[in-house]
Amino acid sequence: MLAAHKLDSPERLRAHLAQGREVQEMRADGQGGWHWQNLAAGDGLPFEPPPRPPLTSAKPLFFAEREALFRFDGGTFYGCLPEIEPKVLFGVSACDLRALAYQDQFFAQDEHYQRRRRQTLLVGYDCGHSCAGGFCTAVGGSPLVNQTQADLILRRNGHGGWTLLVASQAGAEAIAALALPQAPEDWTAERDADLAQVRAEQGAQAEITAGIAAIQAASVEPERWEALGLRCLGCSGCTSVCPTCSCYAPLEQREEGGALLHERVWDSCLYTGFQKEASSHNPAATAGQRVQRFWYHKFGTAFAERFGAYGCVGCGRCDVVCPGSIGAHGVMTRISRP
């Protein structure tokens, strides 16, 4: 059972956690966008989580969009590793935390990723309502933060205040000095009610369930994937915003002074040349083959078994950004039709 505390304000918690840590929180840019911001010391703005998953998930904070792997000075290769200060991510939704747990497994042996991960305290946020387009409950997820995927969990309670759940030893140690009072015992019932509410709002999502079944049965015909491929512009929008996508490519360039810097940059399996070899042989030469690969990676049985979860957390970002309307709902609807 989680320890639960009554919290007078999330801002007070945030200010406390900021002692000795950099704090990052989603903030609106006034133009419809939301971004992770480093909060200045003494920042007292109200905690206002975004109403739906912003296009930027927590992914780039751990799996950097571009970073150096090694340098070569003409005779020796030198590894490059990031130096990371302690930080707290404040107010991460359950879907993004689930994606982070997926990435934690995938990058378990990647020191660049793990250095950032080890230094970060995760403060999750329970969603009381479904976001527009969200389908977390249809892909094995929940609007409620999984206690194994965060250190602290913030939630609005039914009394107009806040409840703070302690999900890890690091979380308990981080708030010990606040000496928060115990929360009323109805928080478990309130969480159950939130889950029921979101399930009802998201509905059956029958096309998602049927699409997953079709992918797992490998019963979608090539012509259907190729028809979907006609809608793919290879823009990498879906792979960039997807919180579980993790492909990267090397990039090498000469620095001032003559040394060579070898970096990795985000890549996309939807790009034409993603698998193209120097010989010009391309095992995924058509857009349909690449679209098929993307969705097999998200819902294929072998991947789901390896990670204990789908590679899709139901955030709906791909539906928002895809110019060809082949985000999750667009694809799953088309492949589940008889």
Binding site: F77, L260, Q275
Partner: protein, 277 residues
């Protein structure tokens, strides 16, 4: 944790060894025990500073001094740059990586089918199997005589191995056509215990199907699959084959694994795809 930083190696020598191909003699500056344990069919990432990294297989695995060899065909900007380097140049090395050929060939009847540069990852295996296999048969196909690689190794094998060569466009009087067309003649009534195949993917698949029909179980037919690779650690995503990554789960797969991976993923060939475009 994965170490993505190459170790230095020296380009010691190189000689022309087939059309647009060179055989490079390389030396690791500081060989490790893991280098000496490299198995035929495994590969390493070769870094040409300023041009990135690419995977190549060992023709001869590293010895105690760190010396090994690799066959490289000029096909892209990295190999173009490699061919221009001076002897003594410093290159980068990460390896050994991936899974090599199966080890349990002692006392077995082994059939090796190679096509083009696909002979390179089989060279070390051929030299090992000639000593411990009960019977070793090798057939090597190339587009034409000038495209044949590993001339010195082949000259040696011709002397004391059950070894055949064939070319798509052969010299007059020489054997011609795909290696698959000669398998019945090569094998007679025998069924090999293990088939190891490397070359263009259509050749490997045709060879596998032929051997399957002759009664070789799919788990005893091995293919070495070429895929674009960058990280060698199963992370960058480029070398996917269904739910596997060739850089860590391969590049050698037995045919049963290959069929299971492609069926589960619903993979279809580009030829199938183009019919629907």
């Amino acid at each position: 944790m994965i170490d993505s930083t190459p170790r230095p190696m020296i380009l010691e020598d190189a000689y022309a060894d087939g059309e647009d191909a060179r055989h490079f003699q390389l030396r690791l500056v500081d060989p490790q025990a893991t280098d000496l344990a490299a198995q035929p069919g495994q590969f390493f990432m070769l870094a040409v500073p300023g041009h990135g990294e690419a995977p190549f297989t060992y023709v001869r695995a590293p010895d105690a001094e760190g010396r090994f060899s690799a066959l490289v065909r000029r096909t892209g900007q990295l190999t173009e740059a490699l061919f221009e380097l001076q002897i003594g140049s410093v290159l980068g090395y990460r390896g050994p990586l991936g899974r090599g050929w199966p080890h349990d060939l002692t006392g077995r009847h082994v059939l090796v089918i190679a096509g083009g540069c696909g002979l390179a990852p089989l060279a070390g295996l051929i030299d090992a199997a000639r000593d411990n296999a009960a019977r070793l048969q090798v057939i090597y196909g190339a587009r034409h005589p000038g495209a044949q690689v590993l001339a010195r190794e082949r000259a040696r094998w011709r002397l004391d191995l059950d070894y055949l060569e064939t070319c798509d466009v052969a010299s007059p009087g020489e054997r011609s056509g795909s290696p698959v067309a000669h398998l019945d003649e090569l094998l007679g009534q025998n069924i090999p215990d293990a088939v190891l195949c490397c070359g263009p993917e259509p050749l490997m698949l045709a060879s596998a199907e032929h051997c399957l029909k002759r009664g070789v179980p799919a788990v005893h037919i091995w293919l070495s699959l070429e895929r674009r690779m960058h990280c060698g650690a199963g992370l960058c995503g480029h070398c996917h084959i269904g739910a596997s990554y060739a850089c860590v789960d391969g590049p050698t797969y037995n045919y049963e694994q290959y069929l299971a991976l492609t069926r589960a993923a619903g993979l279809y060939s580009t030829a199938q795809a183009i019919r629907h475009c």
